[in-house]
Subunit: 352 residues, 4 copies
């Protein structure tokens, strides 16, 4: 292990998100997984035994040799990624932060806390500075909590950010068609989704309508001012393994046309691209001109699943413009963004 490597633990390492962390962190240039933590049922067991591995690449060699420990401070690492279930994530993450760990979480529990950054590096990387306030307020020394949004919100805000910057957004109406992996494992029973669509995902619409405002808000005077945009979300589960599709309509403050919107999206570069973060896609937003793209199976793996793909940009008779966004919900929409959040936080000195 090089002296510049950072030791990393994964909370909830046996679950669906935890497995993605383990998979994506294999060979990471900065981070090395040194602890895999999960519930009591798994603790003490070899990782390959405790985790029912569901990804279609093999378990990384390193993880294959490790044993699972309990989710309690004392882990041999400086940074923990949390893929914990929201029923337990809240106090555990707080305990780790209080004990001096950097906590980068995919769980919803602390997302809307005033002093916790809800981060997508290309969207609002500067919000990470709220951590200074968080530490002061909570009396954390080296530790802190940073979060990423809900999967469907990440894809949406990746597309909205350049539009907001160039044209100003007033309203957003979004209808999602979300993949099964978003429900974790075992998740949706096959009998419910075969030859079917489920028009409801618990809390999802509320998350999209609220988290988007924090993400597109402004960091000022040690607080995050939420955006005044109005968002309406309708969320559906469809028969797709990975990749959330979102049909979006927006009303804008400044007029534009199909070409103008496409250019703003296509040219968007954010902090991760400037900083050359290891997980940064070259093009955070890929714009496709074909009439029938994006599609989950064809586009979800673009730039290793870290780019979102936008297509079908056209005028909207009711609002101003409409388009379709596709993002890989468990990479860009969860573990991948969390890892890039940690990369960003390191470059900003929060892991020192």
């Amino acid at each position: 292990m090089s002296k510049h490597e950072i030791k990393v633990g994964i909370l909830g390492a046996t679950g669906a998100v935890g497995q993605r962390f383990v998979q994506l962190l294999e060979n990471h240039p900065w981070f090395r997984v040194t602890a895999l933590a999960a519930s009591e049922r798994s603790a003490g067991r070899p990782y390959p035994e405790a985790a029912v591995w569901r990804l279609d690449t093999p378990i990384p060699e390193a993880a294959r040799e490790m044993s699972v420990t309990l989710c309690e401070p004392g882990l041999d690492c400086d940074l923990v990624f949390s893929g914990l279930d929201s029923s337990v994530a809240g106090p555990i993450e707080a305990a780790f932060a209080a004990a001096g760990y950097a906590v980068v979480s995919n769980s919803k529990n602390h997302r809307m806390d005033d002093d916790v950054p809800l981060l997508v590096p290309e969207v609002n990387g500067d919000h990470c500075r709220i951590i200074d306030y968080q530490r002061k307020r909570r009396g954390y020394d080296r530790g802190f909590i940073a979060t990423n949004p809900n999967c469907s919100t990440i894809g949406l805000t990746m597309a909205l950010k350049p539009i907001a910057d160039h044209f100003g957004i007033r309203q957003v109406a979004v209808t999602t068609m979300q993949a099964l992996s978003g429900a974790g494992y075992p998740g949706v029973p096959s009998l419910e989704i075969l030859d079917n669509v489920l028009p409801y995902i618990g809390e999802e619409e509320d998350k999209m309508e609220r988290e988007t405002l924090k993400l597109l808000g402004r960091f000022r005077d040690n607080r995050i001012e939420h955006s005044g945009i109005v968002v309406s979300a309708q969320c559906n589960r469809v028969h797709v393994q990975d990749g959330h599709m979102e049909c979006v309509s927006v009303s804008l403050e400044k007029e534009t046309d199909t070409k103008g919107l496409a250019e703003a999206l296509r040219n968007h570069r954010g902090l991760p691209q400037e900083l050359g973060l290891p997980f940064a896609p070259r093009h955070p937003v890929i714009v496709r001109d074909e009439p029938d793209r994006p599609q989950p199976r064809m586009d979800r793996d673009a730039e290793n699943g870290m780019a979102v793909t936008v297509g079908r940009i056209r005028p909207c008779p009711v609002l101003d413009m409409k388009f379709v966004v596709l993002s890989h919900n468990t990479i860009r929409g969860a573990a991948g963004t969390a890892i890039m959040n940690a990369e960003l936080l390191r470059t900003q000195g929060y892991l020192d």
Copy 2:
């Protein structure tokens, strides 16, 4: 055959819509199928041989014994249902009407003709009176052409009609998740839709945005005044066999709430219900209160596939109210509505 029975021919009888006509007309109390017509390739062959039967009930006995004829006037019937492909439907339907046949068509060709009714009996049954003008203008004696809208438009307008009547509609934003049977046979290749969503259906958005205005328009002074509502549609193909889902948002002229909207939908009755038409569902719009309904597989067959199901009625932060509509796209959305159109036209004297 009772003397009151009407002899019926089916144009395009071997295709997907044609097969539905054959299936649904078995045992119809008023109509008896006496002619099955299709392209040259099929003409002269026994129907069970010419049609690759794709429905999961057996071919009706009567049809089993019939031979396919060409799609030319001279068929032994008074009424023809047309499930012809739009590449050929236009002139064939006109020829039949000119030759004195009542033509009730599911094809798009004549839908937007000024003098042709675009009918959904519960929505705009009174528009059938434009046939008088059509006959005069085109010099038809007994014949005429009547059409039903595109499948996704039927489901949408069935839900919009009672809302428009009670509260007035200004804007409609709709995102569809449409079934594979809507693409006919062979239709969508399995490799394109397995683990996938297709965000594009040719012409579909345009049809929904335009046909809806004619359907919700007013019949006055021998013309149909199109409605001034603004409609924006985003259409997707999903991995479902039958049943189109539509996520709808509407802005209204008069304020209402979830309960008010639900009641207007639930209590809606139209001409078919008043007249007791054979294919009329008792409840044209079924409203479900469960958070996760409608679903294609659970709700598409409600009232033999002739009712649409609405659920998830709730306020929309961007427009006023939002909800989900589900309709069986090949029954209510095609052959079933066409048959009920013919029933309505008979009660109005157009088949005499």
Copy 3:
């Protein structure tokens, strides 16, 4: 209620098999559901609340009004159908039989008991006479236990029986492709079966290899002599909702050809057909000549799901003949056969 009607209870009424019992018994000419029993969690609650109804017809009116009771003797009925989970079925069913109830079970627990009939009416209806011995041996007065086989075994033996009768069977090699509903609810997670096949179903191969021998055995001298046939089963789960496909090869004692085998299957009639039992299909085995049938979606509902469909009959280069069998796994393969078992038992006087 007519005085000839028999009062029926359903054990495990909220589960997947229990729901099928409730659905199929609606309007049964002989049986009337008067008790719905389930676990403590459900007891005392209205049935529509306790059962997450998963079938695509509505909950029968009668059941809609009933409350769930505990699975304990004392139910107001004479006959109970058991769809209990095998983890609890054993002692509960025995308790009911001891208390004087006729127990007709779909559970595996008592299937292989020496004194319990394992019944498929068309296959071995005469085995029901073992009940006399059962009553004597166990000291049951009016009560008894009768069972039906595992779903995949039912389809198989329905096809094997006429072959065994006409040609004698020595060996059977069968590979199944089984539907998701066979795993109950929630059953197989969608993430496990989307774009996948699972080559393993716990205990299934063993059940097919053993139960088949009892079914094809002979009732003699108050015992059931198991058949000496050798069976090898390979069981797979595929992405189908209902309908088990089975690719079968058999070696025979007497030579035959495709036509001979087809005729034996097509002409098969059993006790249910002779007796005119309410649930008896006219043709227990439907033989199709098309090269690509049977198919689950096209054939599972043949004769209300009570007929099995055989196709692709042809010589087998390794054994003698091969063919494909399709049966509806939750109707013919579970609740439907159980109900017909009860019908048979009534005609044989066991419900008096």
Copy 4:
């Protein structure tokens, strides 16, 4: 281009198999694609325009710049891979061979020709020597035709070969569950396979029963003596994108047990492994011990899709042993094996 590189053309480059060739040959150490040929309809057009690219990696850079030419000798290359449709492959391939091209084909047309090797390098690499006889007999100078078997036969024979070598095989009964990509594009309509299994694939059973014998035959005295093994195949299409599953039973000449069979399979190495061919998997047969493997989605990509996975090895009550084989049908089962065939032929001097 290094002087050791071999120029390669692809016949049928726009089709499903052709696209796989283009994809897999990107960055091949020995072969460089210099010609893409297809039908008249495509000839003259840029490849990205002529081919509806269906694979989920982008079109290789090189191919992106190329134009499609006609399938006629004169292509600037020494070796052609043929993914031509069998309706045209026969004479075109012969014409190329006669004109001096090495033709390595995936098409069925010449597979069973006496003087054409039907090759899977791990199974019967030595059969390539029949090319000497072929050249002499047909008067080919430098050219020749070599073929690979049908997709399902490749997976089967990869597993049978080590068994035949160690224990001798007398009989094989195999039931397949084959992926949709095996039918090419557009292939199977989604409406036929959603919630369904198709128990028939044209000619497939015959191919498996016959090609297997040639593959497991012996090269002797300038001829290939077909094996005397008896094979019975039942072929089904299931709802899977890539990856053919096969449930196999074998009767053996020498007795063995689960462990013995597993070891023979696991330790198998063939010519490609000895020679270190670029496309050779380290382990041509991966044996898994879990009860529920192989599975298409989890195992098809093992060793870049070039290894087959065997699981569920256990005794068969009817024959001797049974197991399940999984292979990626468009990589190992088509283009990948063809490429490795060319690699083998190069090491044997046939491309000099």
